[in-house]
Each structure stands twice: as structure tokens, then as C-alpha cells.
Symmetry: C2
Subunit: 411 residues, 2 copies
């Protein structure tokens, strides 16, 4: 697994890192189904053996929804999923009724492979939009994946859901709850088309804790808001974003609502999802540096708008890439987000160095600042008038590699 | 001057292109004032010799306004400007009271050089944000520019207002109005930080027609809305955007409100500003291709939001750069702009080829489409449900050169 360290995401004391392996009750596999021209793995299957497995889900807020998302929302028991079929290389989006039928076929084949009712099988896809799914390979792939299901199949599962990802986004944690130890495993893909309202990303999280459906939904909802909702690679929102949490209950450790167990498990899930989210930004289709913009002020809507404007600004991103402490571009992005706000007495710090106070540039040690922004993580702090509201967004830089990847990644 | 041709911007029959030269009554100059480290020209002066010169102005809608914009808005007779002092290399933004004083000094020196009252002198700046203006060079520069004022000074003027521009954006037209021939000359700079609500751009337009201030304001307002308001290089909004129209009246040709003369002059100004706007997009700090997105539908706000989302999408821009007919990214951008709109029966054409109908991809000649998007101009047509609303946005691609320019352009 990819080693991870960030000053912005620290593991809680309850968490012990493992080298891999799914939470108890789950098996997974990833195989080559022939969807990707490269011949890389592109079909993934995840199954829980526990009949009482509960789950929760979150999906993209795009106005154009891919067929698998439509299917999951209308034809799945999202609180009781037992299996997931995922393909990469084709998004099954803008594919009309044919796409819905193909997604339904994947669901049906997944149900057969997992031995569960089809409404307990979720489907997810990622890849090119607007191309019909190559269903022959898909069906053979699901069959092949069934034969390879394994409790240590998370690495293979991850490879088969990845697209332009430059490195693995996967983790396996033992979490010491007051009532006993549970495991949390998670696999995520996402490197571009990442943006507001979570990201072009798929994330599958498993735990062997015993959770009520309402607890699973609460935990996933809170953690997604603090992770995939707070990142931007390129300000783009995918048609396919999906995050699923499944709890098999195989550990026998019961997590009651509003208990200390829930609190500690929530901290571990929060760590897991924020870690995967920052990894997506770090990947960012060629990203070299990661920025974090932290905005305070008097109104929630305003701090959110400003944080997004800075995180999505190609000028700020290019300056981040170049290791250029060009704070004027930050000011420009703030101004653009708040038309009519002039005069705006904003404060800007970069890596703790105050560069702008009450809207006016202030003298600072330019050499020290230049050195500070040469690191892998750069923090921008923006103070708007007022108190009580704050937010953060993690963002990628804008690199030559991003252009290369996205000028060449083709239909 | 840079030759210009675009299927989107055709010259009206009344217009005859000239190789250069200002409208009668105007003289201009551009000199080296030592603001740019490169030693390139960076101080420009434009003066009308006609006491009854009238004018109109439009400025950025940013919430962070540069000192020259604040000064123009509060200390100028914007309907009766006779001179403009412009510097490049320093934006005089986020510079506080010191910046306002420096802008006032530029205005004062400009008034002295032009021999007019200071409230009839506009000031404009473009360049790095948050750095104090080097006033010594500035004042010497204004003096030097005064000595070089020339009726053919438009080329030198242009060079001194340019920053990262890769080519000249300047024109000189003879316009055959029913009541007589007038001249229109214009100089514009802008290549990046170009976006909603016009652009990081400066544009100075001169005519020797006799206009009432209200006519000048009406013509400039309409033409800016159809040109600089409809382009995006990178979705960014500058602190300094300024567009000025000055009419010396030196031709003696009177353009009455609601006359045929006004109509024909309006067409010529529309051509001039749209041409300069498309040139800015074409420049676009390394742009290789220009896109035009045309959106129709039932609501003004919706078509505007969709057009901006497509034009500003780094994924669409990168695909445009790569000559990749990846229409899925267009669909993605539309969906992101309209959360909750699913199912969205949108139609998408690229270069006249229908690729998506009622939200579903349709078979098309992929080779023909690939050839069609290999040209310098690519047109995207998006049909949303409903009738009566439409808009367009011209946009740059996202190139390696954009990243290079903006990772290296430094404080």
C-alpha cells in the first residue's frame, strides 16, 4: 500500500495500520474483462458472506447521472447491500435505456455470483462517457471474478477499479473500540474530474462491526462531507461518483448509536476517508504539490464560495505547481468570488507568513516564503470579515502532466 | 497588425481595414519606464486634442478592485475623458492607501502631460498584484511618453500595455456611415486571467465620430456584453479590467441616437470588440485552439450557467487542446452545472455532428468528427429543454504552454 503521511490528516490513537486484508466477512477480486484497451484489470467484485450485512451510500449530485447511479438509487436496498460489481474503462453514462439495461445485467450477474438477491447488489462504473458497454467481456469477467474472491482480494479489487490513478488508494486498519477491535478496509479510485460535492471517485469501505443501518448512514454521511466533499483536483463533477459503506457484523462487536464505540469508529472512518481524499488530490493526474485553503469569516455560504474559488483557480494551481508564492492570485480568486464586496479587508497567510492584511499587501521575508512553498504541502489561510464560519478545501496543482493526461485520454 | 479571420466574427460591409493609425484627434505613445524587469515598454499615454471629447467606461466586477479602478470610478469624469495613462508590469492592486496615492500621482502627471484637468484623465494598470508601484520610473515615463505622442502611436501604445500577450491585439478601421466616414481604432491586451464578467483585459477604443455621452455609453455597454463578457481563458476575473471608449468628434460626422449612423457605427464597434475578444481567447497564454459553446434552452440563467461550465471546464479545455472529440466531458460539465436536473434530455453537437440526443450518445462517424476537431476553431452546440434563451462563450484550450506561463510568471 502507498505510505501516507500528512500534517493535515493524523491517525487517531485507536488505529493500527495493517498491510492489507478486508474486514471480516468480505471477499473481493479483480480481473481483466477486456473493457480497457490496455488489457489492465477492469472488473471488480466484492461480496459479504454475512446475511445481515448493512450498508449506506452516497452518490454524485450531477444533473447527468450515469446508468449505474440511476440503477443503485432506484433498484437497490442501499441500507442492506451485500455485493458490489464495479467496472473501470467505461462510465456507462449518456447511454440511455441500453445503459440502464446493461447496468441491470451487471447487477443480475453479480447477484448470481454472490448468491444474493439482486436488490442487494450495487453497481458502479468509471471511465469514458457515452460509449456502450462491452457486455460480453463483462459477463465473463464477473464469472471469473467469482472464482477469485478472497479475503485478501482488496489489492486486486483496487487495481480493477482504477483508471488514471498513479498510485494505490487503499487501506486496512484495526480499530480498537472500547467494546472490542474491529477492522476497517477501504479502496478508492480517483485522480481527475474531482470536485465540488464530492468527486469523480469511487470509494468502497468495509467494516466487520455490527452497525444499525441508521448508524452506517450517519457515519458515512458525516465522513464524506469532511473528505470527498472537501477536495478539488479540477473543479469537475463526475456523473458516476459513488461511496459505499458496508458493515458485515462478522466481528460481533456491536456499535450502539451515540456510544463511545460509535465515536471511536467514527474517528477511524473519518481518518480513512480523509486520507483517501488527500491521496486523490495528491494523485491529481500529475499533481506535484497539494494545497489546503482554510477560510474563516461570518457566513457559511461566503467562506465556501471563497474556498472553492481559490481551490479551483487555474492561476493559483499553476502557481502552486511552480512553487511560486504569488499571493496576488489568491486575492484575485477571492475578489472574483465576491463581486461587489469591495473594499474587502481580507487577510491572507501562506504557510503562516502574513502577506496581506485588511486587503493590503504587507512586507514579508520573500525568500523564506519562497522556501516555504517549495514543499509538498502548501497551506493558504484566508480571513474574511466576521466570525463563526470556516471551511477547508484540499486541492491539486495544475501541472504539465495534468494537461498531457487529459489531452490524450480519449474516447 | 495581426491578421484576423474567424467564421464567428465577420466584418460588416461598412468597414475597411487599415494597417494602423489612431482615429482623428488622438495621439498616443508607449515607452520604457522600468516597471518590467525585462526592460520592455511598460508605460502608455493616450491623449485627445479635442476639448469636447466624450467617453464611456466599463470596469471589472471583482470584489477586490485595483487602485486605478477605484480611482477611475471615484475621481474621473468617465463621460468626458481626454487622456489615459496605462502601465503594465504592476497591477497596483492590494496596495492600500499607498496604491491609491500612486494612482492619483499617475493621474496628476497624466493631466500635466496632456494639458487637461485631472478628472479627465483615466488610469489603468496591469501586472503583478500586491507590489508597490515603482513611481520614479513611472513619472519619468509619463514625461518621455508626452514627447513621443503621435497620431500613429497606436502600435507603440499597444506594446506598452501588453504583458504575457503572444501577439498584437490592435485594429484601425474606416467605417462608412450614411452621414460620412469615421475611423475606429482600438488597442487591447489580455491573454490570461480572462473570464466571467469580462476579462483581465484592458481595451481602449477611439473614434472621431461626434457622439453624445449617452450614445457612447450605450454602444460600449452593448458591445462589451457581446465581446469581453463572452470569453473565458481560464475562468478567472481580474482586479483591473477596464474598457474605455473615447470619441473626439474630430471627423465632424454626427451620430444621432437611434439613427442609421448609430446602427452602422454600432455594428463596426461590435465587430472590433468581438474581434479583439476572440484574439484574447486565441492568445490565451499558449492556446492552440479556440472553442465556442452555443447553448439554447428555456431559461437565461440556465443557458448562461451551462455555457460557463463548459467553457471553464479544464477537462473540456484539455480535450480541445488534444484535438479529442471527447463529448462525454461536455456532458459532465453540463451535469455539474445543473445539480438535480437528472434526467436531462440534452442534445450535443460538435462541429455540426450530433453526438448526443435527449441525453443519450448516438452513433456518428468518429473519424469525421476527429478530423473536424483538429482545426483551429471548434464549435460545441448544446440544446437544453425549452426555447427562447441562448448564449455563447468563446474559450481557450488548456495547454502545456498555459501551465508553463502561469507556473513561472512570478511575483
Amino acid at each position: 500500500m502507498t505510505p501516507f503521511s500528512s500534517r493535515w490528516v493524523e491517525p487517531p490513537a485507536s488505529v493500527a495500520e495493517r498491510s492489507g486484508g478486508l474486514a471480516a466477512g468480505f471477499r473481493a477480486a479483480g480481473v481483466v474483462a477486456g473493457i480497457k484497451p490496455s488489457g489492465d484489470p477492469d472488473l471488480a467484485l466484492l461480496v459479504s458472506s454475512e446475511p445481515d450485512t448493512v450498508s449506506a451510500a452516497r452518490f454524485t449530485r450531477s444533473g447527468v447521472l450515469a446508468a449505474p447511479v440511476l440503477l443503485c438509487r432506484s433498484r437497490c436496498r442501499l441500507d442492506a447491500l451485500r455485493a458490489v460489481v464495479v467496472n473501470s474503462g467505461n462510465a456507462n453514462a449518456a447511454t440511455g435505456n441500453r445503459g440502464l439495461e446493461d447496468a441491470a445485467r451487471m447487477q443480475g450477474a453479480g447477484a448470481m455470483a454472490a448468491g444474493v438477491h439482486e436488490e442487494r447488489v450495487a453497481v458502479a462504473s468509471t471511465g469514458v462517457i457515452g460509449v456502450a458497454m462491452p457486455m460480453d467481456g463483462m459477463m465473463r469477467g464477473i464469472l471469473a471474478a467469482r472464482g477469485e474472491l478472497d479475503v485478501d482480494g482488496d489489492a486486486a479489487f483496487w487495481r480493477a477499479i482504477a483508471t488514471t490513478d498513479a498510485f494505490e488508494k487503499r487501506l486496512s486498519l484495526d480499530v480498537a473500540l472500547p467494546s472490542g477491535t474491529v477492522r476497517v478496509s477501504a479502496q478508492a479510485k480517483g485522480a481527475g474530474m474531482i470536485a465540488p460535492a464530492f468527486a469523480t471517485m469511487l470509494c468502497f469501505v468495509q467494516t466487520d462491526a455490527v452497525l444499525a443501518p441508521g448508524t452506517a448512514d450517519l457515519l458515512l454521511g458525516v465522513c464524506v462531507k469532511r473528505s470527498f466533499d472537501r477536495i478539488s483536483v479540477d473543479g469537475q463533477l463526475s456523473t458516476n461518483d459513488t461511496a459505499l459503506l458496508m458493515a458485515s457484523g462478522a466481528s460481533g462487536v456491536v456499535v450502539e448509536p451515540e456510544s463511545d464505540d460509535e465515536l471511536v469508529l467514527g474517528e477511524a472512518l473519518d481518518y480513512a476517508l480523509r486520507r483517501l481524499a488527500v491521496q486523490m488530490v495528491r494523485d491529481g493526474e500529475g499533481a506535484a504539490r497539494v494545497g489546503r485553503v482554510h477560510v474563516t469569516g461570518g457566513e457559511d455560504a461566503t467562506v465556501e464560495r471563497v474556498a472553492r474559488a481559490v481551490a479551483d483557480s487555474p492561476l493559483v494551481k499553476a502557481a502552486l505547481h511552480g512553487g511560486d508564492p504569488n499571493w496576488g492570485r489568491v486575492v484575485q480568486a477571492v475578489g472574483a468570488a465576491l463581486p461587489g464586496a469591495s473594499p474587502l479587508p481580507l487577510d491572507v497567510h501562506i504557510e503562516g507568513v502574513r502577506v496581506c492584511a485588511a486587503g493590503v499587501g504587507v512586507p514579508h521575508d520573500a525568500a523564506a516564503l519562497a522556501a516555504a512553498v517549495a514543499g509538498e504541502e502548501v497551506e493558504y489561510t484566508i480571513g474574511l470579515p466576521g466570525d463563526g464560519a470556516e471551511t477547508e478545501v484540499f486541492f491539486s496543482d495544475l501541472s504539465h502532466e495534468y494537461v498531457r493526461v487529459n489531452a490524450e485520454y480519449t474516447t
